[in-house]
Subunit: 246 residues, 2 copies
């Protein structure tokens, strides 16, 4: 194996609703030398959401009693938006909320973000169906580049027990997000019984290292992987009854 | 930015106790074109533990009552070793255990591993002090290569809510493992209030993508990062009282 390259897609404009995100990604990739067969294009959720118009203006939001009671000095409409995006509150220390989303993801603020938004008083929500977003980007980018690509829509999630966020795949298209080594033997002949690797999340992490939240680099190419199969990021969601860590 | 390269260190022998791991890593790196200033060398915990003799032979273990009561058909001595490595049982579904280790890490089987061990009836434990392991490797590798390097000792951890393992840094030397963007402003001028990125874990993930548990590639170089500061993997452990996700 000759290893991986992780290339930032630089020089993209601020993304607005109905922008041709695939076209802009393709132009940026052309400036970085072009896309190759098997490349994984990792795109930050923020720009996908913006292109899809997943923006809420606080002036259009009315906070309910629960949001007003738990806003802890922050704008209660912000908490209301988070609650509206939540199917379950996992932990709460007002005004901070860890929530489960309709996709099954567990993350801070149900994925609602106030940074890198289109302006004061606006919040960005997760895409309605990030796997569909990834699939649409994959189809159009593969068409533009004339090669078969994979796409990840990524976001930065916190986690228990450890400091800091790491990026995860919330949308996947063109490969199987979990590499299953069950039944495979290691070099000593030992069967790797329970080894399943969340490669999609690891690829999202590799991409984050060149993306940068402050420099306006919303996407990266990860090149050199040998991925296979098909799958969605929904497969990365662990069913509660099988989740020993929960 | 020109991006990152992630290069596997191939052709290393099986590591045994008291092997010169830094020397073997350096030889493998020479075959891969050599080490450069600022490179991060990511080394799988398994080979660090083996070189440090962190091996337990089951024949030397006597299972206590608790291990025998909870072995669920497995060898109770295996569970006893896990208990001996644990400071706290976080979850238990016999024979599976999620435990906190003396380092403060929360992981499956307290990091005790039965795959890629030196032989039947042996288990590999986490290093006693993985930060010290990383620091020693860093010192020796930097000396051999004649350039200033960073080192991560990595392991594959499961996590709540999501399928599959991702790699994390359990030992760090030569950089600050958390990039702190608090107080930094995004492109729209919004202050990124609570954005701390666990770059060490993301680098470990990038490296895992080329390492492979079945191909016997126990290390990788991650090249092209601009890291700074100093720190240890202990800083990645979230104090319980600040852990909203716990």
């Amino acid at each position: 194996m000759i290893g991986l390259a992780v290339l930032p897609l630089e020089g993209m404009p601020e993304i607005e609703q109905d922008d041709d995100l695939a076209g802009l990604l393709h132009e940026a990739a052309e400036r970085a030398g072009g896309l190759g067969a098997g490349d994984v294009v990792v795109v930050a959720q923020k720009v996908v959401s913006k292109a899809e118009g997943r923006i809420v203006h606080l002036k259009d939001v009315e906070a309910g009693d629960f949001a007003r009671a738990n806003a802890a000095g922050q704008d209660p409409r912000h908490l209301q938006v988070i609650l509206d995006e939540s199917t379950r509150i996992v932990r709460m220390r007002p005004p901070f909320v860890i929530a489960e989303t309709a996709h099954g993801f567990v993350c801070g603020s149900a994925g609602v973000d106030a940074s890198n938004t289109p302006g004061d008083g606006t919040l960005v929500l997760l895409p309605v169906d990030p796997d569909a977003s990834a699939q649409a980007l994959r189809r159009r980018l593969s068409e533009l580049a004339g090669v078969d690509l994979a796409v990840i829509v990524s976001d930065s999630f916190g986690r228990p027990w450890r400091h800091g966020t790491t990026d995860v795949a919330i949308g996947v298209a063109g490969f199987s997000p979990v590499r299953d080594l069950r039944g495979v033997r290691d070099r000593t002949g030992y069967e790797l019984r329970s080894t399943r690797i969340a490669v999609a999340d690891e690829i999202a992490c590799a991409a984050e290292l060149v993306m940068g939240k402050t420099e306006g680099i919303p996407a990266a190419i990860v090149r050199g992987l040998r991925l296979g199969g098909e799958g969605t990021a929904r497969e990365l969601v662990m069913p509660p009854e099988r989740d020993l860590f929960r």
